[in-house]
Symmetry: C2
């Protein structure tokens, strides 16, 4: 980002002077999953630009970045804003996940921004959306099109964090809502005193949610994927660790408890990561051949094609889980670990 | 219940007189699933008997009706009570589901009640627990053992209701918690504007929770099992009704919405009810023969054994659902419909 990286920081300072600012038109886009702070960021924007000049206007692009490209927008008037203040959700203008990456998209966006005389566009979203924002900003600066692009950090993952961002909204809500539910389960656990509860939490690429919820709710066990990776634990090590803790509590007569597990755990286990990587590469390269294999023989086929180490791990998995590792790949060809269903046996 | 049915009602009236009551010992049992009101019922009992006479004592039986039979109890002192006031859960003395039905159980209970000089036993629970309470009361009255048994209505199902019980605790909490979650899903639905959410709610034998949640959250569709039964709808009718509503919204460009479905729906559909009844009878009578059938041939085997009408319905079900109707029976030999998993296809 030669044109936008390293730009000076703005600092807000209090002042008693009332300055006269020219009216400014601003656009706003909601991107990705909803979080309660979204409507209030938009209300804050509205109040801010109206305070500068009552003729300022705020435009919302409908259903995410797609609204910018498709010229689908609405002016956010005080009537609309006042209906949504302090309400959760992203429904004021809807959200979307369109990636901004082509020159054609940038130019279509510029067309409508210019038409509406928008000088600043605020994109509220996570790491992907802020990457969109950076790419767009770089493009408009390079072309000297005179439009500021401003990213607002919202993410459930808790991975947008630096000295200026203590925590992102979304993450905060997720941890509080999860912790309330976990607390209810723990109450149930202590009331019935006969079940172990395994609670899967969001967090494919980072265990921040599991960690924060563990700090809030103090479960009996919390697995942190990054620790598992750092200690080079195998799937067997993780299972043994859990089984040992269950056995220790059982020895004291406590056959119940709660365990938090981040959904991305399996991808952090180094041996599983190597297996999944080889599977991903193999299945992308041999998609047609694999599709022709009879369902009953898929496991054997995979085992015959993998390296020895990975074949052994694959063979050790429960059949249902093993099969799911070969299905449902995302657009990048990766297995979607968060969709893997467990084997459920009725009690 | 010749000895206990139709006894006179007690009415509480205000009075300024302070009467001197003798000390009384009271026992309390928590039964079934937790609900936030449980600890407060116990606190209220404690405050009440202490107000009558400070030497009164409250004993809690541990882990449900089993605690009475096994003589497992604790005196609930003000220290303990004060720690649990206004907290949710049943963890103050734990809960359980032991049925009280044999003379031996009644006598074991009587032994400990007599030893602790308990004159009244309060059982907090749902319809099963209140049946326990009635049976126990009848027994003690018949034997003139001088112990009152008092049932306190707590149920998530909302089916303990009469002119004296406006709503039971448990039901109230369930509806509020569910409605909050449904509300969050609706916000998400309106923000993303591209998903239909099918939300399964508790309620196997009654749709009270679904109805109350629908009144609180106004979903696009709510299926009420009792209506389906009264209108003699088939599974096909229910599916068509939902599909039509989805199509109607789609025609207006709204390809999203929320649908509430009570978990017991399938048992209320008259044709499915007949199928399940025949299956239950057949599988109980032919358990060994069925167990010997190869998994691949089970569906065909069942179809060949059922009456024409039921065989046709069974054949029309998705394979996975059909198989589950032949598995996982509860202790009464009934299929556990709430455990049936849907076929999930990734989007």
């Amino acid at each position: 980002f030669p044109n936008t990286y390293g730009m000076p920081l703005i600092q807000f300072v209090e002042s008693n002077e009332t300055a006269n600012f020219p009216a400014v038109n601003v656009g706003v886009i909601l991107s990705g999953g909803q979080a309660p702070g979204g409507h209030n960021v938009i209300s804050g924007l509205f109040d801010g630009i109206k305070k500068l000049n009552k003729d300022s206007k705020l435009y919302g692009f409908i259903l995410g970045p797609g609204g910018l490209i498709n010229h689908h927008y609405t002016e956010l008037t005080s009537n609309i804003i006042n209906e949504y203040r302090n309400t959760g959700g992203f429904d004021i203008i809807g959200s979307g996940r369109t990636k901004l990456e082509t020159t054609e998209q940038f130019e279509k966006g510029y067309e409508i921004l210019k038409k509406l005389n928008i000088k600043a566009l605020v994109i509220i979203g996570g790491d992907d959306s802020n990457t969109n924002a950076c790419v767009l900003a770089e493009y408009y600066v390079a072309k000297k099109q005179g439009i500021q692009i401003i990213g607002c950090p919202k993410t459930i993952d808790g991975d947008l964090k630096n000295e200026m961002i203590e925590t992102s909204f979304g993450f905060d809500t997720a941890c509080k809502v999860y912790s309330e539910v976990i607390g209810n389960i723990q109450r149930d656990c202590n009331s019935a005193r006969k079940y172990w509860h395994f609670i899967k939490l969001m967090g494919r690429s980072a265990s921040h949610i599991a960690l924060e919820c563990a700090l809030q709710t103090q479960p009996n066990i919390c697995i942190i994927s990054e620790e598992v990776e750092a200690k080079n634990m195998s799937l067997n090590d993780v299972v043994t660790y859990i089984a040992q803790a269950v056995a220790n509590r059982s020895a004291k007569g406590n056959n119940f408890g709660t365990i938090l597990i981040p959904e991305g755990l399996v991808e952090f286990i180094p041996a599983m990561k190597r297996l999944i990587a080889e599977l991903n590469d193999f299945l992308v390269a041999n998609a047609n051949e694999f599709a022709a294999i009879d369902k009953e023989n898929q496991q054997e086929y995979i085992i015959s094609k993998l390296s020895k180490e990975n074949a052994d791990i694959y063979a050790s998995l429960p059949k249902g889980v093993a099969r799911q590792l070969t299905l449902d790949r995302d657009p990048h060809g990766n297995v979607q670990v968060s969709l893997i269903m467990l084997e459920v046996n009725s009690v």
